[in-house]
């Protein structure tokens, strides 16, 4: 890829007291690329995602992003209004716990339509049509549009989160363990949906997962983290089939073969 990166993180550092949660993490993410961040619990994956999304204040390092108009901006220098506008139009965030990413008391249609209304859509029929379209794309039946997510299964909630995030055609989606807590068949369908949408829309995705199978299925490149540090990075199949770092070898070998 000859293009400039969509997102560049440099030297991201976060301390919780004396403990380093993220220690000088840097990477480039290109348009249309899926980057998986893998590692065990406590390795700093989710902290990294929080730093990128601007939900956690970094102690060091920077994140720059190429905006839609082509200018590269340091995210820390964006004003609150600009940052939030970016987050709800050009970015998506699919959370591990759907209850955090959805409005549980609002219908599925309202959940999908919220971003559209947030950017100024004021035509009910059009908002509803867009919601129906997106529910269909994530394989949620049209007659569930007026049900709140509290009546949805775990897998459906994650699908709804994806629809809600993608409705404004973002270029970058952050995913925090989107498949954890789902049973394997539901996981497989969700992964299928994600893979299809990513390819179709040319999304850049930063996905945090502890599941190497998920990383293998979805990602182009992989970033292995341990103790807040990146210990290995490379093409997904390269890293998973020929791990160099001792920890990555351990990680790969501890996956149970079905």
């Amino acid at each position: 890829m000859s293009q400039a990166p969509l997102l560049r993180a440099e030297g991201l550092t976060k301390r919780y007291g004396a403990r380093l949660a993220c220690d000088g993490v840097g990477f480039d993410l290109h348009p249309g690329e899926v980057l998986a961040v893998v590692g065990e619990s406590g390795s700093g994956k989710s902290t990294l995602l929080g730093l990128i999304a601007g939900e956690t204040a970094a102690d060091g390092g920077s994140v720059s992003y190429r905006m839609r108009d082509g200018t590269v901006r340091d995210l820390a220098e964006l004003g609150a209004a600009e940052r939030r506008a970016l987050m709800r139009t050009d970015w998506g965030f699919v959370r591990q716990d759907a209850a955090q990413g959805l409005r549980m008391s609002v219908s599925a249609g309202g959940n999908v339509g919220e971003r559209l209304m947030g950017v100024g859509a004021r035509h009910y029929a059009e908002i509803r049509a867009a919601a129906l379209d997106w529910l269909a794309r994530v394989e949620i039946a049209a007659d569930r549009i007026d049900d709140p997510p509290t009546r949805f299964s775990g897998g459906m909630r994650q699908r709804l989160q994806i629809a809600r995030n993608l409705v404004t055609a973002p270029r970058l989606v952050l995913m925090d363990e989107p498949t954890s807590g789902l049973d394997v068949s539901v996981q497989a369908r969700l992964l299928d949906t994600i893979r299809g949408l990513v390819a179709e829309l040319g999304l850049a995705v930063l996905i945090v997962t502890h599941d190497l199978a998920v990383a293998r299925l979805l990602s182009h490149r992989i970033l292995v983290m341990r103790g807040g540090r990146v210990i290995e990075t490379g093409l997904t199949d390269q890293v998973l089939d020929d791990p160099q770092a001792a920890y990555t070898q351990l990680l790969v070998s501890s996956v149970l073969a079905a």
Binding site: S107, G109, G113, M117, R122, H123, Y124, R128, I145, D146
Partner: protein, 290 residues
């Protein structure tokens, strides 16, 4: 009311509140007027009435009341309900101000959940009692977040509520506390007035002040300010219409209350604004055209 009870109370400052408190409230009011629709925090005091009975409105009224003011208090449009009578009497005794039930004669009108039918004029002040000042509250419980949303004018969420209405009922079913945008900037809860009254807020010549005692917020709509009810392009804002006129005075285009007459389904619809109704009936009795 016995004559003794109507005598001014001694031992209190004019209009019950001390001057320091009134000054603090006036500051909040000035700020609220300067930033229309913005909820200004203020240090609400305990008042000698329970929360939910208009402690916010009473404090605003106490802060703006002068000796020459004429006070009218209404509760759901009526001058003769408990809440209205006791607040009117409260200020009659602690401030010794003249009180009235006539909208046109009043300089300060404290209201719970209605705007009088008689058009307000310049120089009048309408004080609303507000239970929940935050229009976004039921969708976003975090105060830190709603403040952000107001600060950045992110009001998509308000439309989510209206969207939900249409999805559930086929039309915007919110009939009271219908959110409005003030002066093209802040979205405001007009207090639980029926949406029938929303158009009266727009370009109103009177000053409108809102006081929420429990939530400790004051906000305002200055005279002649644009107040727009939120809606969708294909579901425009509409006020409710009544099929019949007032059973007592025959007024049309007014807000009606349903009064149940017996346990056999008997009912009548009468003006919710008692002063408006009485004025019209007097006029009819005196042979003038209504």
């Amino acid at each position: 009311m016995s004559p003794a009870a109507a005598l001014p109370q001694t031992g209190y400052n004019f209009a019950y509140l001390d001057e320091g408190t009134k000054r603090m409230i006036r500051r909040a009011i000035l700020k609220a007027v300067a930033v229309p629709g913005y909820q200004v925090p203020f240090a609400a005091r305990e008042m000698p009435m329970p929360y939910g009975w208009g402690t916010g409105g009473v404090q605003v009224t106490a802060a703006i009341l002068g000796a020459s003011d004429v006070l009218k208090v209404i509760d759901q449009g009526a001058d003769d309900t408990t809440n209205a009578v006791s607040i009117r009497r409260f200020f009659g005794r602690t401030a010794g101000v003249a009180t009235t039930t006539r909208t046109a004669e009043a300089t300060v009108i404290q209201t719970r959940h209605r705007i009088p039918e008689t058009p307000l004029t310049e120089g009048q002040i309408l004080v609303y009692q507000v239970p929940i000042p935050e229009p976004l509250r039921f969708l976003e419980p975090r105060e830190t977040e709603t403040r952000q949303l107001h600060a950045l004018a992110e009001y998509g969420l308000m439309h989510v509520k209206l969207y939900e209405d249409i999805a559930r009922h086929g039309h915007i079913a919110t009939t009271y506390a219908y959110p409005v945008e003030v002066a093209g900037r802040y979205v405001m809860d007009p207090s639980p007035t029926p949406k029938f009254d929303n158009p009266k807020m727009d370009d109103c010549p009177a000053l409108q002040l809102f006081g929420a005692g429990r939530e400790k917020r004051i906000y305002a709509v200055p005279p002649h300010t644009r107040v727009r009810s939120l809606d969708f392009e294909d579901h425009p804002f509409r006020v409710q219409r009544f099929e019949r006129p007032c059973a007592l005075c025959g007024a049309e285009d007014v807000y009606l209350d349903e009064v149940v007459l017996d346990d056999a389904g008997g009912r009548m619809f009468v003006c919710s604004d008692t002063d408006h109704c009485e004025t019209r009936r007097d006029a009819i009795a005196h042979g003038e055209s209504a």
